[in-house]
Amino acid sequence: MEKVIGIDLGTTNSCVAIVENGTPVVIPNRGGYKTTPSMVAVTEAGKRLVGHIAKRQAITNAENTVYAAKRLIGRKWNSPQVKNAVATSSYRIVEGPHNDVRIVLRDKEFSVPEISAMVLQEMKVIAEDYLGEPVSKAVVTVPAYFNDNQRQATKDAGEIAGLDVIRIINEPTAAALSYGFGRNIEKTVAVYDFGGGTFDISILEIGAHGVFKVIATAGDTFLGGEDVDARIIDWLVSGFKEEHGIDLRQDRMALQRLKDAAEKAKCELSSVRETEVNLPFIISSGRNEALHLQRSLTRTTLEELSEDLIDRTVDICRQTLEDAKLEKDEIDEVVLVGGMTRMPRIQQAVQQFFEKEPNKGVHPDEVVALGAAIQGAALVDDKQEMILLDVTPHALGIMTFGSYFEELIPQNTTVPTHRTKIFTTSRDNQTAVKILVMQGESQRAEENELLGEFILTGLRRAPKGQVEIEVTFEINADGIVSVRAKDLETGLEQSIQVTATSGLTRDEIKTMMDNAKDDLVDRRTSEEFEAARQEAEKLITEIEKLFPQVQQIVASSDFGRDAIEKAKAIVEKARSAIERKDAAAVKEQLEGLTRTHRMFKGVVAKT
């Protein structure tokens, strides 16, 4: 049976897990960390960096380091969220074809799924290193409130990374799976998921027979830890401006340093009451002197700065409970997920709202990836008795006359499902009708997300309201939406399978996939080479240091001269291999170099 990994593709950090012998485990990366920063950078030399290395160089390479790409994925260039990101990001975001978003790194444009693919690829490699075998299937999580376009873009990212994403599941749902897995409980659980970029709340029922039923889910895809960071940055920037009259936002490197410091301060304030933000030489005063930023931030101030954000999450919780038609006391357990839930004020707010001590038994950073791995295993393994009954997070419908949104499948409907409604023509002698498939909760069509469109033609010429068209929406277990329109008079039918647009065409994805594959080969070889080179050069230096001494000692004997010649040849060979960047050849010489080095050291030691 093929292994399926579970990937939590987070806004700030990502995590990968797998079910091994029935137990879900998080796979640590090469540095031993269980989470990897979702950051991607391109160095001056054109080298791509992902994860911790990308984060480490972010300050010195702010313009070419992408963070929080998840906030852009599947979004249109003209959306307010993208506009906001353009204004606050230290990397360049530009408009791409068909209203798509592109990120510029070292003069090269990347689509957002391509950037996410780099992170996914990193997670895939982490899993492969751990398992010692190739991995091709994955379950990837997304915020519950992601719309179809965002989900599709995430799927595309997986494809570019060479992964078959067998299912996209919601993060809070994944958390609940991990919480309830193998515990044989019957409970109603609320999952409060406050992550780096998004806030989600889901209410689930865990029942007998390993069934997990999502009852309601809601959230805000632009409300997360990043927003709290932004509040701290604002506070720091405005304080600095008052003091020095300089806007730190104008300097991308300063902005990146601020971002780092804000995140650090926020995390520290979860355990201490006060912390110091200290950024020496943050900017030049313009009079040939550097200015420093030094300010202390208290937990109380942070709480004041983020109060309205926390209130927003509580409002969403209240709404979701109402949607689920549940009372607070019907919730048996509240599970906290996401880094932000470490903030004491948030734990307090959740406890106050649900009137219940939240469960802290799950690891907020790892639980989502674990849940994804569990779902992956349950899908491919017949022995796993677990079924997830998920819901549509957004209502689905079509645009009707006057650009109203007519809902066919309401929010929080368990999938698979299908609904039918009858519509009529809106103009006299209308012979064709355009079906605009939309997703969202607004009554105004233009405020909702357009998923796809098609045209039903050949209608009878008749006064408006005469011709009846039956529209059927269907969502299958894989979450794929298909829409059918039928002229009830003639029986003529048109249908589409809504492949949400990630902004990329099939061909584009194909090309990106190929590029990513090449890149993977490159990167792996270069890593191997890099390791061998470093070791070889270290040995060569050591050997060359010992040369004069060894020569002195052994020059008198033939054996000695021979040995020195041999050593010189080995060093030469290694050098040329390094020059050729031939990893295999360098590796080959390593043994000889090691032997020579040991021998030289032995000779010197004896005398």
Partner: protein, 490 residues
Amino acid sequence: MAEKVPRLVANVDIRKFRLDPTDGFLLTRIDGRLGPRDLARETGLPEFSVERALEKLESLGVIERIDPNAPPPTAPPPPPPPKPAAPQFSQLLEAKYDPAELEEACDVPVQHRKRVLDLYYRLDDIDHYTLLGVTREADKKTVKRAYFELAGVLHPDRYFKKNLGSFKPKMEVLFARVTDAHDTLVDKDRRVDYDAYLAEVATTKGMEAMLERALDEAQRVAAPTPSSAPSRGSVPDGTPVVASTPPASGSLPPASAEELQARREALARRLLGGAGRPPSAVTRPSVAPEAPNPLRYSSSADAVEALKRRYEDRIEQANSAQVRRYTEAAEQALAKNDLANAASSFSLAVKYAPDDVALAMRYQELKNQADAVMSESYIKQAGYEERQQKWPEAARSWARVAKLRPADARAAERAAFCLLKADGDMHEAAEHAKRAVATDPRVALHHVTLAEVYAKAGLVASARRAAETGLVVDPKNVALLALMKRLGKG
């Protein structure tokens, strides 16, 4: 093996139980010979309602299930046989699918296929409770458990990336229905709404069958003859009767005069012999018997004459006792606002006193009342069905209303309209629409519907005529004008 059949348990006073009309109606049909399926056919109730009622009655100890081929019990009845385990619902129903469907080449286990097919082809007949396999009283938790069990089995993820063939869409439909059932039953408001709907369905179905039967019997009983034995089984007065022989059925041809004569003479001879035994060939409700006075007659002819008189007197007495009892039962039922039972009792009373005009009028009056209740019920039902876009069902309900209220043009129009929506029988639709037009020709909508029905049936000339008539009523009617235009192009 023969299917077990329900039979009444002797000496049980059913008055102490809370039975609804369906249960009561079913009780009158239980004779120890008819199986659940026959009962469903006989009563016109859906099989699941019959089965549910039987289970209830059985649990109450009113009925028991016996092997129909076993020898009839002797009176007094032997101790009841050990109660058979409640039969599995699914086993009682014959498979509705083509067994070939089980053979399809796909990765679904056979046992699972049976379950899927069984449910899939029965979806239209079963309510949410039956679908989930829970009782009407089931609480939220029970509903959820049942749902989780089914959802786990029916969700297509159970066979992820396997070849499910034609089972995949079926499982998806089933899953959606099971989910709908769950969502409806766990939501207080929706459940109340749905229960009300089911209650309407049960009431109308039960009442209809009962009234039809009553009408049937009333017609069949020309005059009370000794052979038209009183009802079999338990009647609303609560005296259950155990038949030691198969009871005389109302459908038997009435005995000829000669036969009757021969029987009476035979009886007289026996009585003359002084044995004084009551007739045993016919079972009847226990009417307090007068002790026969042993008299001597001069001739056998006199004796026969006297006996005949006595015998007829007794029949008369028995009849009037029955009439009294049924009338009382009817009035009691009426007092409890149980129109169906009342009407049924009256119909039986009328049967025993066919010449009693007052009684017949009372019956008719009551039947009208019951009809009114029933049509109200059907209107509610139709409303729910229209909201749920169950057009064939809505059409059926409106048709019933139209039948019960021949002067209701709206009901007729709705029936026609729903048939249009349901792609139903256009002949029937045309009948309804015509009636709507005939009843109230001033309403343009009636003409529209009639014309639409004709148009759909392809009767262009009729459609045009109907539309033209409609335009006389409302010359500016948009729908009619449009229709004319369309027909003109035809």
